[in-house]
């Protein structure tokens, strides 16, 4: 492996390479300037949705991948439209990202794919801790387990989910491991002691 790159190899047509001028020991701040940035995404679909929702959604494209940054209240309508009119018939994944310092602490993501158009799109919206996120089980039945996993890992509640309960962790577990304030060594000691009969899982 080369010691330090003068510029990264960028076979992609995208003009913005990820050349990092700084030497490795530099502080993280120097890593940012040369990075690619999201650019507005222009397509018939985004224009059509933009027309309907106005400033409520912003279509972006990052490294060739398209997404809508949407207001939380518009999410049910937007997903409905994407499903019915946009032919996004396959819900690839639903997941969340926790930003504890932000007022609305969670980014919710719906990754969609359309078989007929061979196109992917992501819908991204911010929700506050404790807010109800609309469930999409009726649109895409696959969301059932995906939403349960988000609930299990982040404690995000989905409104309209037929049976929202933990899926990977035991039912009685306390805490939501993928939140940033949940430590990597942290465990529900009480649960471990009662159910496994040992002092600690660590």
């Amino acid at each position: 492996m080369p010691e330090d790159p003068k510029s990264s190899e960028a076979p992609n047509p995208a003009p913005s390479g990820e050349a990092k001028p700084a030497a490795p020991p530099a502080k993280p701040a120097s890593a940012k300037p040369a990075g690619p940035v999201p650019i507005p995404w222009d397509s018939p679909l985004s224009a059509r949705l933009k027309e309907q929702f106005g400033s409520g959604i912003e279509p972006f494209s990052y490294l060739g991948q398209n997404y809508f940054q949407s207001e939380a209240t518009l999410v049910p309508q937007l997903l409905h439209l994407l499903h019915d009119e946009g032919q996004f018939d396959y819900c690839v994944d639903i997941t969340a990202v926790h930003y504890p310092k932000r007022e609305r602490a969670f980014d919710l993501l719906w990754i969609l794919y359309s078989f007929s158009r061979n196109e992917r799109v992501r819908v991204k919206a911010q929700f506050a801790d404790g807010a109800m996120v609309p469930s999409v089980v009726l649109l895409w039945p696959t969301a059932n387990w995906l939403e349960r996993e988000v609930f299990d890992m982040f404690g995000i509640h989905f409104e309209g989910h037929p049976d929202l309960k933990r899926i990977l962790l035991p039912d009685g577990w306390k805490g939501y491991p993928l939140r940033k304030d949940y430590g990597i060594y942290q465990q529900d000691q009480e649960w471990v002691q009662i159910n496994l009969g040992i002092e600690s899982g660590q």
Partner: protein, 388 residues
């Protein structure tokens, strides 16, 4: 029994539970537990079955026994340090996991592996697809009662594992690729080994097929068992051979080509009926197609570097990326959020086995209890990947 009713809820979308029968002595329904230690669940999967005699009325999967918090671990490791962890998800197709992860991070870095590395990746990934399908075939046939294929497939899978071992020193959790390309140049004789394997293996698939394809017991146990329509597959997010056996011609290697797949000529085998027998046929054909790809890749293996110029300390620019590949089980996706530091801010794995397992309920309803074993086998799940 009341417990079951309150927790019955796997019913999602296409199929709904039948209305409850409220009789004085409700003896027709039986709730039985299968697993988590059961040889036919291919790991630690617990299935709660609601039966009417031999007929399955519904079932619920209880998973999570192998949950290790892979996504949490990723947030606490650097990009390179996390690489070996992905091998431990779908441990029978570790090479595919590694390929998906490396390509996702490369995308985040806005770089690409050099052509030679891409070809090596394709060869090893397709070998791994064959190995994964072999293991599926052996165990699936064993579940149904045919013991011989297990010995045949494990005998032949050994040859693939030997190539992996010679290439990177490991047989199962290979950690074969690095972000930016490959760590190792191919060893002397690699191409001959791969060609020898192809010549050795071509007649072996016929051998498997001779044992099973027209075998009356096999056909009776698999035809019209666990039928799922293409529409239901899409609604339930089912991908991979299961989707293709239901007649949907969709393969990420063709739909959104990654690595070097654009340069190879191969077909996507599809089924018609979406039953267990068609899924068997599709996977058998896939092994043949994989051999075609490997042969083209070995013959056209370009010269050149095997590692892109990437910094020693990886700090991808802040941003989010989703990248997915066609793993042997279906669409394997990685969603990575970078905050510009050396560790992923968030890493989400979209595991094919997890999503496919959700369809078990739909596929088993109305079937006989013995068919549940066949359907679990035909879904080809790996619990390490379901639970992560």
């Amino acid at each position: 029994m009341n417990d079951w009713r309150t927790t019955d809820s796997n019913a999602s979308g296409p199929v709904q539970t039948q209305p409850e029968q409220k009789t004085f002595l409700d003896a027709s329904e039986l709730v039985i537990n299968m697993g988590p230690q059961h040889p036919a669940t291919h790991g630690v999967l617990r299935v709660i079955l609601k039966l009417d005699g031999e007929k399955v009325l519904g079932l619920e999967c209880v998973i999570g026994y192998l949950h290790r918090g892979v996504e949490k671990i990723a947030e606490n490791r650097t990009y390179a340090m996390f690489n070996p962890y992905v091998d431990r998800m779908d441990y029978v197709a570790a090479v595919s996991n590694g390929l998906g992860y490396c390509e996702a991070v490369e995308k985040l870095l806005n770089t690409e592996a050099p052509p030679r590395a891409k070809y090596i990746r394709v060869i090893l990934t397709e070998l791994n697809r064959i190995a994964s399908h072999q293991l599926w075939l052996g165990t699936h046939a064993l579940d149904i009662g045919a013991m011989t294929p297990l010995f045949y497939t494990f005998r032949d899978r050994e040859e693939i594992l030997k190539i992996f071992e010679k290439y990177c020193g490991a047989r199962l959790t290979t950690h074969a690729f690095r972000i930016g390309g490959c760590q190792y140049e191919t060893y002397a004789g690699f191409e001959d080994d791969v060609r020898n394997f192809l010549n050795f293996f071509a007649p072996k698939i016929n051998e498997y097929e001779e044992l099973l394809t027209t075998n009356r017991i096999w056909v009776r146990r698999t035809k019209n068992v666990g039928v799922i329509s293409g529409k239901d597959c899409i609604a339930l997010g089912v991908t991979g051979p299961v989707l293709r056996a239901s007649g949907v011609k969709w393969d990420l290697r063709k739909a959104q080509p990654y690595a070097a797949y654009k340069e190879f000529d191969f077909d996507i085998p599809v089924g018609e009926n979406g039953d267990t027998y068609d899924r068997y046929l599709v996977r058998m054909q896939e092994m043949r197609q994989s051999m075609r790809i490997i042969r083209q890749a070995v013959d056209g293996l370009p010269e050149g570097p095997i590692m892109a110029k990437i910094p020693k300390v990886l700090k991808p620019p802040a941003g989010e990326i989703y990248h997915s590949i066609e793993a042997p089980k279906g669409e394997l996706g990685y969603f990575i959020v970078s905050d510009g530091s050396t560790q992923p801010y968030r890493l989400r794995v979209r595991p094919p086995s997890f999503v496919n397992l959700q369809a078990l309920d739909v596929m088993c309803r109305g079937q006989l209890v013995a068919d549940v074993v066949a359907v679990i086998g035909t879904l080809d799940i790996v619990l390490g990947e379901v639970d992560r």
